[in-house]
């Protein structure tokens, strides 16, 4: 299923796509994760990536970051093949190696987003400090700058990670499950911060989520990954019973509750683990 539903959300459609995937196959060893994925993302779009566990949501990010290569098909990021260390992409992984009782200040981590890839002895930290301060301000985390990471709440930590990804002024953000472990209020607050970045800076943003509901009002597009394939389009087109049933090849129901929240029944693997 491809880009069948152009829509108007202030996104300019005359520019080259930020991401274009054409019949991409990929997997680990001999196990395919994507058997045939075709989709595209335009610059400045806010995209939710959802789907059952193990469908290949994190795989998508690994492909875009150039950490993993497709088996076949073509994948382009800003018109070029993905490469590791692309400064145009900011990334927030699902897990961080950071020690839970690390007393390193939030600002020190954010600053590494600017300086961490530079070798040798650094003599002018002033520019990195300024870049870190700008990134912290952009996510509303200036008051957290001096606090140790160990004292931050889950929502505060996600803001710091977002600032770390933002510090080089990337044109694309890849956020892997930033909302998991946040209660609904904190999740909505974080989505608001991300949405403001998308609107103010035109950053193309892909956000992997388990639950679409905190996001649904801000989204330009949904990429739904299941069954080795990908469906993409505006939420109203993709998140329907017929569209998802076609993707899975089995009946899937999309239900709406009284507040407009979506529930997808039949698609999720109830015994699935946490790996996306």
């Amino acid at each position: 299923m491809t880009e069948a539903f152009p829509h108007a959300t202030g996104v300019r459609s005359d520019r080259a796509p930020a991401i274009s995937a054409d019949h991409v196959r990929v997997g680990y060893r001999s196990d395919p994760v994507w058997t045939d994925a075709t989709f595209s993302v335009r610059p400045g779009e806010f995209v939710a990536v959802i789907g059952p566990n193990g469908a290949g949501k994190t795989t998508m990010f690994r492909l875009l970051l150039g950490i993993q290569r497709p088996w076949s098909g073509s994948l382009r990021v800003f018109g070029a093949a993905p490469r590791r260390g692309n400064p145009r992409i900011g990334y927030v992984p699902q897990r961080h190696t950071i020690d839970a009782d690390s007393h390193v200040a939030a600002e020190a981590l954010v600053r590494l987003g600017a300086s961490g890839a530079r070798w040798g002895v650094g003599l002018s930290p002033a520019r990195d400090r300024a870049a870190a301060a700008r990134a912290l301000e952009a996510v509303g985390a200036t008051p957290l700058a001096g606090k140790p990471l160990s004292t931050l709440s889950g929502g505060e930590l996600q803001r710091i990670f977002l600032a770390e990804a933002l510090v080089g002024d990337p044109e694309m953000l890849l956020l892997d499950e930033p909302l998991s472990n946040l209660d609904i209020r904190r999740a909505r607050e974080l989505v608001e911060v991300v949405h403001e970045l998308v609107l103010a800076r035109g950053v193309t943003t892909l956000l992997v989520a388990h639950d679409i509901n905190p996001l649904i009002e801000c989204l330009d597009k949904v990429i739904y990954i299941a069954n080795g394939r990908v469906a993409s389009g505006p939420p109203s087109e993709v998140l329907t019973s017929p569209a998802l049933s076609a993707l899975y090849g089995a009946p899937v129901e999309v239900l709406h509750d009284s507040r407009g929240n979506l529930v997808i029944v039949g698609g999720e693997d109830p015994h699935g683990g946490e790996n996306g």
Partner: protein
């Protein structure tokens, strides 16, 4: 030791001057100072990367190397260096997950100690060599040993300065560092090699069994007390230097092994900081975990 008759004057200046009249004490202080600086800095990364058990295990690998060197009448430092850097390279190549896998490390560690014991049983000489490798014997360090220590320490410090920020980034946030294009595996390998060299020189003071006290404890305290990597390393070095200097000083006048005092001072600082911090925490509960008490409710109930 020659210092049997040296009386303690209760005057720090005279006591230090007396002590430094002995060349072996000057050697010990020179080597000890370099070792404390290296151990304090690399220890900060050991704690950040949670690979303190790997550091411990490398010391044990070094023991079997040193024992083999003794057996073949080679300077034990070369055996140490070969086995710690070899073991470090192996662990580095297996990746960071291997460096935090304690069952595998523990298994190899026990085997290495046993191997060292076997080498020593072949050796017919006096076992003091083994004793000094296990527990450290800094007063016995030769001038060439001091030179080796300072050269090896300088290599570690220069190399760490060159990889400082990428190593810090990879230690704090590996996945992001990898996405930024940093060579994670190579950084891990470099780190483990440098750790092997650092352990080789540190073994001269505290021995393989007490390597934790210099390599991990000062940094563990520093990580708790500081928020900036730079200040963390400075505090870590300061603690390691303090423990080493006091340990050497006390050994000279009191004839107890320096290793014991170094370990005890590091331990005392660690206990004091941990205790002090939990005491502070019990007086000032975290704002976001406990709701503020309602003062009116308290007065009403009284």
């Amino acid at each position: 030791m020659t210092s049997d008759q040296i009386p303690f004057q209760w005057n720090l200046v005279t006591d230090l001057r007396t002590m430094w009249e002995f060349p072996f004490m000057r050697n010990a202080f020179e080597a000890g100072t370099m070792i404390a600086i290296v151990a304090g800095i690399i220890g900060y990364f050991v704690v950040l990367r949670r690979s303190s058990f790997a550091a411990h295990a490398l010391g044990h690998a070094g023991f079997s190397g040193a024992a083999a060197a003794v057996l073949y009448a080679v300077n034990p430092v070369y055996g140490l260096l070969l086995f710690t850097t070899g073991g470090g390279a192996l662990m580095g190549l297996l990746g960071r997950r291997a460096a935090t896998r304690d069952v595998e490390i523990g298994t190899v560690l026990a085997f290495m100690l046993g191997l060292g014991l076997l080498f020593l049983s072949f050796y017919n000489g006096y076992a003091s060599e083994a004793y000094s490798i296990l527990f450290g014997e800094i007063l016995g360090i030769s001038v060439s040993g001091v030179v080796f220590t300072i050269e090896a320490g300088a290599v570690v410090l220069v190399a760490l300065a060159l990889v400082y920020r990428p190593l810090l980034f990879a230690s704090l946030d590996e996945d992001v560092a990898e996405a930024k294009g940093l060579p994670i595996l190579a950084l891990g390998l470099i780190f483990m090699l440098l750790l092997g060299v650092a352990i080789t020189i540190a073994v001269q003071i505290v021995g393989v069994l007490l390597i934790f006290a210099l390599m991990v404890t000062p940094a563990a305290v520093a990580v708790r007390l500081t928020r900036r990597p730079w200040t963390g390393m400075l505090v870590s070095v300061a603690i390691a230097l303090f423990a080493t200097w006091v340990g050497l000083f006390v050994q000279f006048y009191a004839q107890y092994p320096a290793s014991f005092f170094i370990v005890s001072i590091a331990f005392a600082i660690y206990v004091a900081v941990r205790g002090g911090q939990s005491l502070l925490r019990s007086f000032a509960p975290r704002a976001n975990s406990t709701p503020p008490a309602d003062p009116s409710a308290a007065t009403n109930s009284g």
